[in-house]
Symmetry: C2
Subunit: 571 residues, 2 copies
Amino acid sequence: MSFKPNWIEQIAPNNSYRSIFKWGDPGYFKHPNEKLYELMKETFELTDEHFKEPINPGFEEVKVDVPIKLESRHIEVFQKMLGPENVRFDDYSRVKASFGKTMFDLMRLREKRIENLPDLVLFPKDREDVVKIVKYCNDHCIAIYPRGGGSTVTRGTECVKGGVCVDFTKHMNRILKLNEINHTVTVEPGIYGPKLEQALNEAPKIFGTKHRYTCGHLPQSFEYSTVGGWVVTRGAGQNSTYYGKIEDLVVCQEYITPIGEIKTKEYPRAALGPSIDQMMIGSEGAYGLLVSVTLKIFRYMPQNDQRFSFIFPSFHSAIEACREITQAGFGFPAVMRLSDPEETEIAFRLYGVKDTILDRLISLRGMKSMERCLLLGIAQGEKNYAKNVKRQIMKIARSFGAIYTTGYVAKRWEKGRFTDPYLRDDLHDFGIIIDTLECAVAWDQVEHVYKMVREYCKKRPKTVVMSHCSHFYPQGTNLYFIFIGMFKDIEEFVEYQSGILDNIVKSGAALSHHHGVGKLFAPWFEACIGRNQLEVLRALKKHFDPNNIMNPGGTLALDLPEEKKRMIQLA
Amino acid sequence: MSFKPNWIEQIAPNNSYRSIFKWGDPGYFKHPNEKLYELMKETFELTDEHFKEPINPGFEEVKVDVPIKLESRHIEVFQKMLGPENVRFDDYSRVKASFGKTMFDLMRLREKRIENLPDLVLFPKDREDVVKIVKYCNDHCIAIYPRGGGSTVTRGTECVKGGVCVDFTKHMNRILKLNEINHTVTVEPGIYGPKLEQALNEAPKIFGTKHRYTCGHLPQSFEYSTVGGWVVTRGAGQNSTYYGKIEDLVVCQEYITPIGEIKTKEYPRAALGPSIDQMMIGSEGAYGLLVSVTLKIFRYMPQNDQRFSFIFPSFHSAIEACREITQAGFGFPAVMRLSDPEETEIAFRLYGVKDTILDRLISLRGMKSMERCLLLGIAQGEKNYAKNVKRQIMKIARSFGAIYTTGYVAKRWEKGRFTDPYLRDDLHDFGIIIDTLECAVAWDQVEHVYKMVREYCKKRPKTVVMSHCSHFYPQGTNLYFIFIGMFKDIEEFVEYQSGILDNIVKSGAALSHHHGVGKLFAPWFEACIGRNQLEVLRALKKHFDPNNIMNPGGTLALDLPEEKKRMIQLA
């Protein structure tokens, strides 16, 4: 191509807005390829001209005029408590602490619409520091906002009531124990995915274990999210179909709450009344601060990986095949990812399959454009187990009319699995918004929810809407919606996003499969789980945090003002 | 043998004490075989003479002098509410309602030490009846005790504060929906195991489904316990290693609590904050009454069952092999059951292996009496999956020095899996007590807990103590202790049992793997889970049941008087 869009390759200055909102490694860039660029121009009727000058790239130094409300005597106490190097209150630190990675955050940062800043950012060195912070804040009614990697897409860590942000990534990022006998690892909450995973992979060298291990939890945000975030949001990794969601992986934990520590024990299972662990997982910092967690680990055996991919004639046939795969009783693949027709179509375009001989061959087998669907995946585990999982999937896929398209497609997906978010910043530089919403659905609701949400999304002209299912259970799956559009302002974007959430809840799906609720989805939370159920979470809140200092200001709708509730008329 | 003990074969009269405490089918008897009889005589130094006259067989009609405290105006309200046929207050119904199947219950019934009776037994017809009962009882502070099959071994349903027993087995025992798409079944709580399992097995005929199904949950009490009991005690079936414990099987549920209904939705998984489901599972009737539950179901494919058994040279080597089996990543067998040396020894005697050629062959391979251990099991699921599980287990077992002893032993165990409790009544007729206690342990604690508890148990002279592990996880297993002894009275028995519980808690094990806590184990509960954790359960109790009408009197130590706490000095 002759024209090359002016994709930014400049490393954003430290202390700039861009350094806050840009995804991932400051020096890494993954630009849209030529085909994606062409698709964007075509979709939004743009010319090369449009891609010459980035809009609001955010290279300016962060400067805000938001006074610190916390009295200086408190600041002095924290400085004495933690050491002055572990207490920050410069503009940059405060802004960085409050913003996450949802599109609403990125838009606000680019436009410098700065709000909801903490007064201080604290970096506890260990559990004892956390005990002191929580006690002091509770005694003086100072709001506490926990923070890990800051990859929240739910405004989960936004410091709505000021106060202090407690950042676990600086010090509390250690592996406390690898227990090979019990197949568990105990870590502090601020550890990032790669540090944990690499240590487990290299466990024989580092810990002298017999086997190599994996944590089995690899969300798309893996490189820039922490174990603490995974746990308190009730997250899922892309391999959860085999390894389980985080709530399946936590063995025991410790939280520091305003009323004391909540600590569970390393039992494999028990019949000891209601599960305290499952009350704390997903509590999103509103009950207490996670200070350590023990997770299951698994043998790391990448040599046994079995990759596969298929093209199905329709979304319906592919859904049916996936259901059969999860219900047939031969175990589960680690990864499975089913793209709907629009996502499949775009994948064909972006990966250069469109209009090739391969495309024609696939079409000749009756797989029509905008009907056909791509399924890819990887089976893991012991060698024969993984082989049998693939063999059974082949058999089932074929019985539903699929064509096998080799393991190459899965391998290619694996290579890009963590880097797609980089594309988002490039497109946003030219006013193009990519955002995602996801939900969970029982099998008998999948097609209904898909249709209802997609119909709403597609009502908007010039909007790409791709969907996929990426986490599978015998009882259902998730639906992940990716939309790409141009919006005149934040308000228009928010209204569109809200409409999608309305439709997710109205359709009967769970408001979130793995992103959590945070403050962004809180207005829909009561409509989703029901008032009595929400009151249970509030009763626990009152118990753990009588002064409402833990992540206050809407988290999980625990203290959501009446007027902020999105009233949904359920069918 | 010339002498035959006077095992009772008389069907106990309706309305007799025996009809309450006898296990299972009134007309079914399974007597100790000759070898068990010889073992008992030998162990307790008894002669045939001792087995001529049963002690306290309990054939008398139940008659008690416990006045009904509930005012007659309340009784009239219930009669009008439910129909007079669904309100009982005769002596027999009241006694039957309050007693379960733990040895302490059987001893009290035989000795006619009757206490803690409900005033009424109510039989709700449906959810709406339950709503009315709970509302009325809450308005008038009348205690409610839920009841299913009554197989509790924790005094779970004992009506300590009088009031009403709500029995779900008469009417609320229906299958509400079988959803083949979602692989779920929705039932009322009062349905017994076999009714559910048979309906699932025969689903193509009954519901017109494509496949046959199983609920995958088969506790030893299967025939005489209900789904409601499984859920609210956080139970496990004998096949849980593959299918999961009940908390893994519940998809959604509805409870009626004093503050309203708590109802969750049929999602496969979600990230919607703390899990309400996991707060209600295990709540043992202290938060509300379960009125319906949706469980996962599984394809029923008995034709694929792969049975196996092994003799290991030692408990240590067998434990190590079991750990490797659960951690190797090839899936899980449905059943695995590892007997300790004493249980293995007794199995050899009872099944006639002892002193046969087979015994000598095994001994020649270095498997010594009182060191060797029996492991048996069954792999289930899709054909190749089950075959591979067995193949991998064979490989691992051999690498730990085991001899393969065919699938026959597992088949034989299967035949008797539900009928062993019948033996208990026969032995008790002659003053011999069999009782069990169980706990859960991480792998690195198994041998320590086993040693500590066993040492305590064996300090008592003339006491058989058999142990096994029967539920396996990558992180650990359970330890199940069976003791057989003669006790001079209930008090001596209780003291011995309490000492075992002391040692379970002191050793660091979870107080229960699947029996639950109830009122019997409640005095140890705080020492096991810790005060702050118990206070969380109490906070929920206060929320759901502000008047403390739901299963009051010690359940889960929620309202345990200070003096009843067993103070354990933890290491």
